[in-house]
């Protein structure tokens, strides 16, 4: 019989923990690039490993080995701390999400609120990084990061509160467990699902809402001065954010690791995560970019009332 401590250590470092999450992040990046390429009638990464599946790994190691430039004018401490901070903050919420079982590795009543808080902190860290790099493009990008957060944050929170009200639990694991006995919340709360999906797209800064890093107007937005190791960490944390967005949708609205006939619940979680990443990439390939004022206007005029309407319907 293996002692409980060793099992917990293995869980933290190997299977639902660090190693698995790294693989998941790289896999989601590859799938995203490949899907967008297919939509545009291209092949996408092809020669790096089988079907180019090692492409994100190659990008990561190449960036790690490159020169790490810190601009003279930059605030050196903040500039160096921000990539690590963003990576840590975007990885932490993934431990609160039940992936292989009905309860997560760490869970307590109220971890949904912790997840929302951490997703906001990530944005603040991004803003600090943009400000510390003292580049005119990154400053504009940073301001847009903050402005966009003012738009999508509130409807996203309201949309995520919907499942919490229905299941009378403020923890993600509790919401998943209540869907195990009831019905998936995507069926009872389709409006909330749609609002959460759009807001998460804005949180991920993906194409209809990629105003903060709009490549054709402000070069690379808030990322513009980061190079080498820092860029590698930031890109990795963006992949973690994608995984986090997908798994939040899966566990709040699609029933988490619940299923009928497959042997292990994590298989279900993985399949649903793939569906969510497919939706997110699909939208990325189909839309053009909004302007920042259009993002804010849309979020306040349409998303917030819709999210509130969903809450009213849930409460009634």
């Amino acid at each position: 019989m293996v002692p409980q401590e060793i099992v917990t250590l293995l869980q933290v470092f190997l299977f639902p923990g660090f190693l698995f999450l790294f693989c998941l992040a790289f896999f989601s990046d590859w799938m995203d690039r490949k899907l967008v390429a297919k939509f545009q009638n291209r092949y996408g990464p092809l020669y790096t490993g089988p079907k180019g599946i090692l492409q994100p790994v190659a990008d990561f190691f190449k960036l790690l080995a490159k020169e790490d430039i810190i601009p003279i004018a930059a605030d050196k401490t903040v500039f160096s701390v921000v990539p690590m901070l963003v990576l840590a903050l975007s990885m932490t919420p993934l431990f609160l999400i039940p992936m292989i079982d009905y309860s997560a590795l760490i869970w307590f009543e109220g971890d949904l609120i912790v997840i929302m808080f951490i997703t906001t902190l990530v944005i603040v860290a991004m803003f600090m990084g943009a400000w510390a790099s003292t580049n005119r493009f990154s400053t504009i990008g940073g301001m847009r990061v903050g402005l966009q957060m003012l738009g999508y944050e509130i409807p996203m929170t309201i949309a995520m509160i919907g499942p919490a009200i229905s299941s009378k639990s403020l923890s993600v694991s509790g919401i998943v467990q209540s869907q195990a006995v009831g019905i998936w919340y995507v069926i009872t709360q389709p409006l909330g699902f749609a609002v959460a999906l759009i807001c998460l797209l804005a949180h991920l800064q993906r194409v209809p809402f990629d105003v903060p890093e709009a490549e054709s107007e402000i070069v690379a937005g808030w990322l513009v001065e980061f190079s080498g190791k820092k860029l590698a960490l930031l890109k990795l944390s963006k992949n973690f954010e994608l995984v986090l967005a997908g798994s939040l949708l899966v566990s709040l609205f699609l029933g988490g690791p619940l299923g009928f006939w497959l042997p292990h619940p994590s298989v279900y979680f993985f399949l649903k995560l793939i569906v969510c990443i497919f939706i997110l990439s699909n939208l990325r390939a189909l839309f053009a970019r909004f302007r920042i004022d259009q993002v804010l206007e849309g979020a306040w005029k349409y998303l917030t009332p819709l999210a509130l309407l969903q809450i009213i319907l849930v409460v009634i």
Binding site: R33, A37, Q40, N41, R42, Y43, G44, P45, L46, Y47, T48, G52, L54, Q55, V57, A58, D59, F60, F61, K62, L64, A65, K66, E67, D68, I69, E215, S216, V219, A220, L223, V224, E225, F226, S227, G228, L231
Partner: protein
């Protein structure tokens, strides 16, 4: 000044593999007539799809590995070309696309051009043609990547 200092002998096999598999390019027009630029864009487009080799086009010089320069370097573009080259992080290479970028071609002897990118910054690969076909551009990029590998094996 060397064009790339991959030859420091510090890299392991993993890193040189990673470098060869994901060269990100930065396109800079040093006074070209847009012919070569269109061909470069065409080689990134669905028909030729440079992303098969892991090649992405990046906007910021801080993110790029390979500077792709098109056109004879005009006096106005010279300082900007130098600056962009200096802004790129260290293992970096330069590709000159088109006859103008190689030698100045029809502008040779003109008063307002520098007659080729290699009069300003060191160049690794020259791709001739006016404009070169996308196949030629892909061949040039892959030649560059293969030469990275050779340089390291000699060390």
């Amino acid at each position: 000044m060397v064009a790339y200092d991959l030859a420091e002998g510090k890299e392991t096999g993993l890193i040189s593999w990673a470098r060869a598999k994901s060269p990100w390019i930065l396109h800079f027009n040093t006074g070209s007539c847009n012919g070569c630029d269109i061909e470069l864009v065409a080689s990134l487009s669905p028909r030729f799809d440079l992303e098969r080799f892991g090649i992405l086009q990046k906007g910021s010089p801080r993110h790029a590995d390979v500077l792709v320069a098109t056109g004879p370097v005009t006096r106005q573009a010279k300082n900007r070309l130098l600056r962009i080259y200096e802004q790129m992080p260290s293992p970096k290479s330069v590709i000159a696309i088109g006859s103008c970028a190689t030698s100045g071609a029809p502008f040779n002897g003109s008063y307002n051009v520098y007659e080729g990118v290699d009069n300003v910054i060191p160049v690794d690969v020259y791709i001739s043609g006016c404009p070169p076909k996308p196949e030629a551009i892909i061949h040039g990029l892959l030649t560059l990547i293969q030469n990275w590998g050779k340089k390291q094996r000699q060390q």
